[in-house]
Each structure stands twice: as C-alpha cells, then as structure tokens.
Symmetry: C2
Subunit: 464 residues, 2 copies
Amino acid sequence: MIESRGRERLVVIGGDAAGMSAASQARRLKGPDELEIVAFERGGFSSYSACGIPYWVGGDVAERDHLVARTPEEHRARDIDLRMRTEVTEIDIARGRVRARDVGSGEESWTPYDKLVIATGARPLRPPLPGVDAPGVHGVQTLDDGQALLDSLDATEGRRAVVVGAGYIGVEMAEALIRRGYEVTVVNRGEEPMATLDPDMGRLVHEAMEGMGIGMVNRTEVTEVLVDDDSGRVRAVATADAEYPADVVVLGIGVRPETSLAKRAGLPLGGSGGLLTDLSMRVRGHENIWAGGDCVEVLDLVSGRERHIPLGTHANKHGQIIGTNAGGGYATFPGVVGTAVSKVCELEIARTGLREKDALRAGLRFETVTVESTSRARYYPDAAPMTVKMLAERRTGRLLGVQIVGREGAGKRVDIAAVALTAGMTVERMTTLDLGYAPPFSPVWDPVLVAARKAAGAVRRGGA
Amino acid sequence: MIESRGRERLVVIGGDAAGMSAASQARRLKGPDELEIVAFERGGFSSYSACGIPYWVGGDVAERDHLVARTPEEHRARDIDLRMRTEVTEIDIARGRVRARDVGSGEESWTPYDKLVIATGARPLRPPLPGVDAPGVHGVQTLDDGQALLDSLDATEGRRAVVVGAGYIGVEMAEALIRRGYEVTVVNRGEEPMATLDPDMGRLVHEAMEGMGIGMVNRTEVTEVLVDDDSGRVRAVATADAEYPADVVVLGIGVRPETSLAKRAGLPLGGSGGLLTDLSMRVRGHENIWAGGDCVEVLDLVSGRERHIPLGTHANKHGQIIGTNAGGGYATFPGVVGTAVSKVCELEIARTGLREKDALRAGLRFETVTVESTSRARYYPDAAPMTVKMLAERRTGRLLGVQIVGREGAGKRVDIAAVALTAGMTVERMTTLDLGYAPPFSPVWDPVLVAARKAAGAVRRGGA
C-alpha cells in the first residue's frame, strides 16, 4: 500500500459500538485523503447491539441481522478499512504499531498508527467449574454466542433451563427462555436478584419473577455443571445442596474489561481492570491513544470514583467523542451517574446513582425513603403500582440515588433522577420539579415527586 | 361558635386541589386546638380531578366518584370545616373577613379570618355567541359540567359531535367522544391544533387526528351555534364558510383565572388576570393571604416572566406549600418550566419550556432542530416513531424548550428536558446525559440525546 504524504493513519482495535462509532465520527470530520482508518475486529460481526441478544433469543427480534446497525461492507463503503476476523495480538507503543493476526489463516502482520483507538470491549466471566465447557452451556456476549445458544436450543428437546447469575443479562435471559416455553431456574450468588439494586428492591424483582413462574434460588453458588455420560451434554447444575436439571445453561455472571492487550502494553488500568482515560477519552499519559466502551472505567459523578459500567449507550457516546477528538475536533465525556434500566416480562427495573452500600463506601451519610405510587392516576385504566426508593445526603439534601421497580412506565422515570443527579440537585428542589402530568401519564404527584417529598422531609428531620 | 383563646382561624376559598391541599397540609402541621380551618366551596364536589373528566366522559373511568380524591366528609373527619355549596361573595381585607352565601338558601354571613387562602380556580371561556346557551352545548370544567354532558349524550340519539377549541381539553374531549362512537369535528381558531406547540409540531397532531377519523378544521372561528326550532337543542355549529351538524357541542377554548373576588378586594393581578404571589405563595403585599392553583400566575423560570398555567399538578404543589406556610412551616414554589403532556388516542403530545414565539417574545435568539427517532431500539417490537423539537439559546447553548409528538413512550420523555431546563443545562451537556437504555426502553441514543446532539451542533455553527 502506498501512503500519500501527510496522510495520518487511525487504527481502531475492536469493531463494535465504541470502535466503529469512533471510526465513523472521525471519517465524518476527515476525508480519506487526510485520514486513513483501519479497524480490526476478531469476530464476524461489526457494530451490533449485544444488548439486543436476549430479545433475539426470546423471539421478539426475528433475525440476527436486525441487531447489526452497520455491516462491514457499509463501513467499507465509507472508506473505513475494516478487517474482520482479525485479532490484534500486540500493541507496540514505542514504535506506534499493532500486530494483528488473521484468525482464519493465522498470518500476522504489523500495522503502524499515528492515532490509536482501543475498543476491545469486555469478556464474560466464565467460572472455572467442572463441566462448564460442556455442550449446552452458553454465554451470551456476542452474536456468535447468541447463535450458538439458539442452535443448542434447537438441538435439544428438553425444556428445562438454568440461568446462572441474576444481573441484567441473567434476568433478561430468564425472560427470553420463559418466552420460548422453557421452565427456568435462576441460580444467584447474591442475596436477591439484580445486585445493582439494594436487596430490599431486589426482593421486589424476586417476588415478581416467582409470580412469572421463574424459579429463583438466591445466596447459592454453582459448584459444578453435570454432564450426561452418553451425550456429553449438560444435564444439570449442582450447588452445595441441590441439583437443578438443565437441558441448557446460560451464564450471565457479568463481564470484565478486556484489557489484556492494553495491560501488556503497559497502559494504565484502574481498580476494576479497565483502562483509565482523561475527559477527552485519551488513555492517561498518551497523547495519541484513546479508549472507550466496555474496556474503560468511567467517572461516577455521584461518588467521584472510577467504575466499570459496560453498557452500549456509554460505548456509543465514547465512540462519538473519541472520533470527534481523533478527527481534530473537541468533545469530552464528563462521566456517568450509573443509570440502567431493564425488564423481566412486564416488570421494569431501573436505577441511577448510588445504592446504600455505594454511598457508605463513598463515605456519605444519607437518608433513605421508599414510596409506593402508581404509573398513572389511580382512577385511570392500567394504573400500575410502582415502588421508588430514594437516597439523599444528610445536611445538604443532595440526591444520591434512585431505584424504581414497577410495571409499564416505571423504567424510564429514572431519567428524571439521572438528570437531577447530573445537576447536583437537592431532593427539596426536586419536590417542585415541573414534570409532565395528565391522568394517562402520571398521578398528579409523580412517583418521583412523592419520593422527593418524603426524602426532603427525612433530610429536614435528619440527624448530623 | 365559641373560640378557644389563641386559636387562629384559617379560611380557605375554594374546595378543590389547591384549597384543600392547603387545608390538609396546614391541618397536618397544626391540630384543631391551635388552628381552626374553614373552607368554602360553591360547587357540590371537593378535591376532584378535573383533568380526569375527559376520561370519565370517554368511558375509561367508570364512575364520577373515582375522580374525587377526598370527599367533604373525609375532610370534615380531619377537622376541616368544609362548607359545600357555599360561595364566597366578598373578601373584606381591612376587617379580615369573608362574606359567604349559601347557594341553596341564599343566606349570607361573615366569617373572620386570621389567615386566608384564595384558591378560586379558573373559569372556562364561553364565547358570547348566539345559541351558546342552548341545550347540548357543554363546558367540561367541573364534575357538574361532566355530568351534564353525559346526561346530554344520553338524551340524544344523534352521533355527531363538534368540539370547539383544539387545546388540551379540546383534543382530549375529541378522543373521549370518538371512544363513545361519535363522529367528531374539531373547530379551531389557530393555525394547527395544540397551540401550546409550535405549528410545525401541531401539524403532526393534526395529521394523526385525521388518521383517527377526527375532522380537524383550523383557522376558523365559530360564529353561531344553530338551534333546532322544535327541540330548542343545538343542531349545528356555524362558521363564516360552513355549518357543522352537531348533536352535541363541547367548548374547550381555554380558561381564565377566576379572580373577580380578588380584584374587587384590590389584590394584585398580573397580565393574565391571575393573582400575583411571592415565592412562598403569599399574595404580594399581604402578610396573611396566600393564593394558589388556577387563579394565580406562576413564574416561568425559562423566560423569567409570569404566566397563567392552569394545571392540577401545580395546584397541588401550591396547596402543599401554602399549607406548610400557613401551618407555621416554610416552603417555596420556585416556578415552572411549562411542562405539559397530553394524548389523543395513541398519540402522545408533550412540551416544556419555550416555543419559538415565546423565545422571540422573551428577546432570545436561538437555534431550532427537529429529529425523528423511535421510542425503543428500532429492531425491538412496537418501536414507534417520535419527533423531538429542541430550542437552544445561541452563544450560551442553554436549553430553551422541547416539544415531543409520538406514540407510547413519547410523552413522559419530556421530563428529561423539564429537569434539564430547571438546572439551566446546555444542550452540549445534555448530549452526554446518562439516560436509561435497554432495547425495550430506548434506542441506544435516546431521542432526546439525538436532538441535543443536533442542537449542540447548531449552536457551535450558529451565528451571533
């Protein structure tokens, strides 16, 4: 390849949300005569919605390709040299180059860069249990994983599924499998499902899941995956006390930043193993290297600490910001407040800010209130119950966090609190927020306002 | 009645949301041995949801009584001396007393007060048209109005309805009548329905209403209500150019503050005819008189001006704040940002902050953007289109207003903007808001974020 003089090369490691958003945004700002863009993806898909996998498995999304926002061909049509099934095996910072290996042929070659974007994502935790690699045991991190799970469901006639882990992926997969007609048991190490909530709110999820016919086993470690002697396929999941028969097992026990490359290159990692960046998403101490998406730690604006929050919405924002900066513009990512929404069948689950244990860990004293309200005016059809928990700092009354569990209309209400947290608002100020009201949308006091009133009262009465 | 020494008397004029919230909150803070509370209501119902009337008429709410949050008996059980069908006819500020007339008997008497709450609400505009008082022509301001309309619908076999006015009440009543099987025509003076939106957004409402089979006639004044010679009942609505046959006519052309009493008493009124209060909801210049609800003007925090915004949610907040202050506590109402949500059948309509003409009137220069997005990830079932319009101030980039028209999930998204407006946030800052994301709840870029990105771009490129 002959380089035109003065043309810079941007190399992107990882062809999913963060990496390809960065590539696309850089391309918008600089044409191919100014900037060459080379992107490496070790898998077979680019720019896809991993968050959509449970809905594809559950049948809500008919086809895998619907989850792909932009194919490799579409990226190439925009002058991005995206090399699929090509894994970067080394970053040589001193010489400004990466080594990549063709996954098929095993061939390796070096590619120099002027600017580098690391968007290597996260890898799912896979406990080192006996039997965990048996056929019928599946992760659901990538489209390839999703396809393998669907093939596995087709290959077995049994209808018993065990989901290990009760976080977002775990509960969403429980829903997916219920929708496919499976008998589902979720085995969870924690006190209650959804450890991203306080246990009292997780309890509500637990009860709702049981109401949907999902078996929920808490405070329990899986000790072994039991394999059928004849077929070699999974037959059950064992814990210290029990065995749960399983024709298929889904692992949803979380992910860790995929930063082995970055670590070997000596780049700075935080306490969760994610890359540390500055506000422009540059890797700290490196002028020409950016990182974003599931492989970085983000600043939690409420606690003031770095955290690892693998979420597609952050990855897309990071990519946008990195691409702007790498393309010669200016943009920053100020941080997150820890917002997340999910659902299990009709139950909506949302959180933002700090849980009680986060607040304690951050050295904060706080008041906690929980209120019951409804999604619509009580007299309006389909008004559904909603529980809102709110934490506010003592003395200052600053909002620290909100958790919501309810039916339709519960989940996105957390955005009210997300913006209020971003603004550093007090719960007292929140009591008079001018939120949308009409009987089909809200009680005359929105549930978030009800919680704010109670929290403000607690702060006023609160101790030192 | 023998007064216990030192016991104060709080008199409340108006037994609906603001008045009875104030009474109830004052009672929570002070028992009957400290504070006597007397409330006067000229109608037959207390503490009811006027906003719910269209849903009662439409059949979504089965019974009138479901709209009553607290009956007179319930208030009396809390030691509030609520006198129904008793109209206050004069406020004598110099002597600290009000004159009230029993609507039934016509008897009048004076009641002294130490503290006074004015919560006289709003009165519907009723154009002085020939025939407007004929049977079959109805307002829908009170429960009594709603009952009269329902009786009228029962009394006629015809199935043609004309709604005059295309604001919230107008479009909600159009939905109600469609649901009852009527052929509905809405006659509207303005350029498009929902004048609380800019006309380009109102146009979307117009198109959706037509799609629902609602006839929408814009830029048209009603000139006369035509009456059947035999029955004396309405038979049509006439405009300059046409006649619209009508078995029933609903007037929904807005309300004005009901402040005739206050005006006669010399209390300060603003440009919209509403009472002017300070931040503690005290009538300006009066130590012991508070006012709230539909009879006051509120501070618009975005434009810095007073406006009249009759909405139950404000009335309830005012009542709460007045009751706290009148009960010896402390609370303030900082103002509003102009949030409102509504729906016509499946169409959700929301707004907050300034429209283009409001911003111009306030002397602001601004950028305007409109984006099309979806309520959920595009690949997720029932992802519905959503249009978001956003205004941002030039130079500063401060958010000025948001309008949203779409299907399920559109309406309450406006709360994101309502909180951002309250916080004085810039659209640039909004681009990285940590909003809830999962495929069933939002695209990976929430529609509000998409609008913020586009608005931030416009501000960066914008002129002086």
